[in-house]
Symmetry: D2
Subunit: 136 residues, 4 copies
Amino acid sequence: MLSPKEIVDTMIAKDFFSQWLGIEVLEANEGGSKLKMTIREDMLNGFGIAHGGITYSFADSALAFASNSHGQKSVSVETSISHAISLKASDTIIAEAKEEHCSNKIGIYSVKVYKEVDQSVVALFKGTVYRTSKVW
Amino acid sequence: MLSPKEIVDTMIAKDFFSQWLGIEVLEANEGGSKLKMTIREDMLNGFGIAHGGITYSFADSALAFASNSHGQKSVSVETSISHAISLKASDTIIAEAKEEHCSNKIGIYSVKVYKEVDQSVVALFKGTVYRTSKVW
Amino acid sequence: MLSPKEIVDTMIAKDFFSQWLGIEVLEANEGGSKLKMTIREDMLNGFGIAHGGITYSFADSALAFASNSHGQKSVSVETSISHAISLKASDTIIAEAKEEHCSNKIGIYSVKVYKEVDQSVVALFKGTVYRTSKVW
Amino acid sequence: MLSPKEIVDTMIAKDFFSQWLGIEVLEANEGGSKLKMTIREDMLNGFGIAHGGITYSFADSALAFASNSHGQKSVSVETSISHAISLKASDTIIAEAKEEHCSNKIGIYSVKVYKEVDQSVVALFKGTVYRTSKVW
């Protein structure tokens, strides 16, 4: 059976979009993950700030890594995100995913995204996953 | 005063991430927008399907264009997305944003993302924006 | 096998909270439902308007009736609601639930709540259900 | 200027629905609140478990008390809830609201609902409020 770290390594090796985002895995454990990335010019929207989809994608990757860590393949079914502050190019952000509930079929996770420099909250994300019967 | 089409053209000209996604604007009108894009290999996750953040980002751009169309700058405050089916490379998808409510300060939008080929629903997105006092 | 109408009748007969709300079933069909209720004084909050939980509960009942209509017992896993306008005592509201997606295990529904008098949107609700293997 | 406790006392005195729910305020402070209630027979749905709207309403009251605690009247604009486990009559539950972000116009809150007996998570709620310019 694979460890959480091995599962995340396997996932990210083929996760081309997380690679494009420049996501670095700081921690991967049972039910949790901690990631880091830095905003680039090509991630900005028409307001000159990071597109909301960038922060969402970052949090969604943290959810994927945390929810698959038990060895059972899990897919996101519904997620929501609240945006607190905007980000500019060169801002470095951290995502921390935490398992709030895990039953046979359903898992619930909260992900906090914050700036590395002063820990100010960038976004709050909540996601529910469906835990399939397939294993990593 | 700019037309919805002129506002969206202005927004997308500087929206580097929507450009990376390859978003094409099919329609832009007061309170609504219709977009198109095609999934590429570099948008896939560790499962070999489109990363959830890609569908979200696409819907979020549709929300941004629809909610800014009245000429008042609007920013997303909370959004949620439900994923119905997964996408593979070369799938072409459409996003249609619809204004459900618009008051002085708050706007509510639903966005449906579906496959171009058979109109099957890919994701259902709902978003609330805060309408600032700044104009385009 | 029970019809959608028979399933909803069975559900509401024991649904004491929907009874307390005074919910009336206008329509019940495969994947959809249409309900009606009227705001009372004991449903108001400290602002003198209907508590957000009243509108949510009304939409959640519409979701439950719509998602169980196929005969397979279904439970809500994640839902979100956007509040558009406030309600006062004696306002009559309608909820219309619509199935947006239905697969073996997961169903996605949107519910629109609006005032009967002028059809103005009160709230927009989106919900994802897990479809169990038990039948009505 | 009123204290958080005085604001919540003022709110709940007229909050007839929170009274019907039997909500007891355990704590009220700047940006946070802690509430308690017990499930009754008339709060059950057709499955014989607490209606999803009960847990939502409880969390929504916690949000309202926490977000109004600064003295500025605040209204919920979008909220979402993930249901983890079901509740039966006589179960006692606790809601803890925590402020995750607070700016001039927008506040973001997470609310955890758990069983008093063993602290198992019942639901995870996230809400965004619009902070009006009116004061308590």
